[in-house]
Symmetry: C2
Subunit: 240 residues, 2 copies
């Protein structure tokens, strides 16, 4: 157990989803005062941003939303409404369609985590913080290159050459508490920390009522996480 | 001399200033089809963006402007109108005020080059490009941590773990053709490549007429560059 951070500021990348909401709870439990950072980046729906704002408000956490127009560049189904989000009945069906789990899926957004972490780095520098939390996960993930531990380590090395702190101050630490956990373990830990998962949004393609589709890879991974944790799934699914 | 790139796309970070305009000319001379990328990032003036748009149009170069609100975070005189841009009569006077050239100046924008390169990485990935140009310069520079060669090398290493290309494709190369050149050498090379420097804007704090102030560090370094190159300075200075 490391020393508690006793009120030092940590910047927490925060989408309002299951992983980043758990990350926020972990940063708090480790003694940090979190500043939550979300992005309006041209995503095809803003359900997750609404969830993020509600969770931050109820937790009494400062919440920044940065406007960046990634959709102007295109290149992903998450930001390009002309590309369909793949839907499946189960993770097994999904795996059967792509037996080698080859390639990077269409829901990958080019350089998204690099851009998000770059903004977190800027906010950390302005706030005099040396700590950034990101809820990436290398176990139950979707083959995104920018969720791998080697990416995060390389970003941290780069960040410590990029800023004033890299020249004059404390080195930046990028915390990835979820990186080696299964979704089930994440849900289990979050439940122990009191996370209210009914407030979080994970779905890539929610219905008009804001409910989850239940069939995108994010929904399927989330549902299996609750199942594995033996915790009732509080997700509100769309009625159409 | 390496092989010419014969029409391959390169993303060129492009402010409309002396360095990045020279970079654009170099990318062209090396056979690339440049895509120029500028940012509306909350800078205190947009003279340089106007220059960038005019230069790109006259060169027939595709020009993207990304909107990102760095000013919301503050932390630099370049994006915070309440902080004054330091002014000096000469580089010698500036050096005398800070004999050890210690520290990072107030015009440094937190994590700016990290953010700019992250967007360039995204555009490169979407366009299938493996080449990014950035006009950083480690000789006549202002002590910015994110202009150093070790920063750029670390960014390149990180970038090659961050994207689809890092998993499946050609590695990304970040070109820094100016990194070891003096301002005089940059001006000399640009002149040989036909750059019209009268169109470029370098000043941190131009007058209402768009003319350069002549007294900020950027103006002083630029003026010395023309002087060292033995080329008449085409800069239009403000009349008030």
């Amino acid at each position: 157990m490391t020393e508690p951070a006793t009120g030092r500021v940590a910047i927490v990348l925060f989408s309002g989803g299951l992983d980043s909401t758990t990350c926020l709870a972990i940063a708090k439990s480790e003694g940090f005062t979190p500043v939550a950072l979300s992005f309006r980046y041209g995503q095809r729906h803003t359900v997750e941003l609404d969830c993020a704002a509600e969770i931050a408000a109820s937790e009494g956490v400062e919440h920044l939303i940065a406007d960046i127009d990634l959709a102007a560049f295109g290149g992903s189904a998450l930001i390009d409404a002309s590309l369909a989000i793949p839907k499946h009945e189960s993770l097994e069906e999904l795996a059967a369609e792509d037996p080698g789990n080859s390639g990077v899926p269409i829901t990958y957004v080019p350089a998204r985590n690099t851009i998000f972490l770059s903004f977190a780095l800027a906010v950390a520098e302005v706030r005099g913080s040396s700590d950034v939390y990101i809820g990436v996960n290398a176990v139950d993930y979707s083959g995104y290159p920018d969720c791998r531990p080697e990416f995060v380590e390389a970003f941290q090395s780069m960040a410590n050459l990029a800023t004033r702190a890299g020249v004059e101050g404390d080195p930046l630490v990028i915390h990835t508490p979820l990186i080696a956990m299964t979704k089930g373990q994440i849900v289990q830990l979050g439940a122990e920390l009191g996370v209210d998962y009914s407030r979080t949004s994970t779905c890539y393609d929610p219905g008009a009522d804001g409910g989850a589709c239940g069939h995108c890879e994010a929904c399927l991974l989330r549902a299996r996480g609750f199942d594995d944790a033996g915790i009732a799934d509080p997700t509100r699914y769309t009625s159409g």
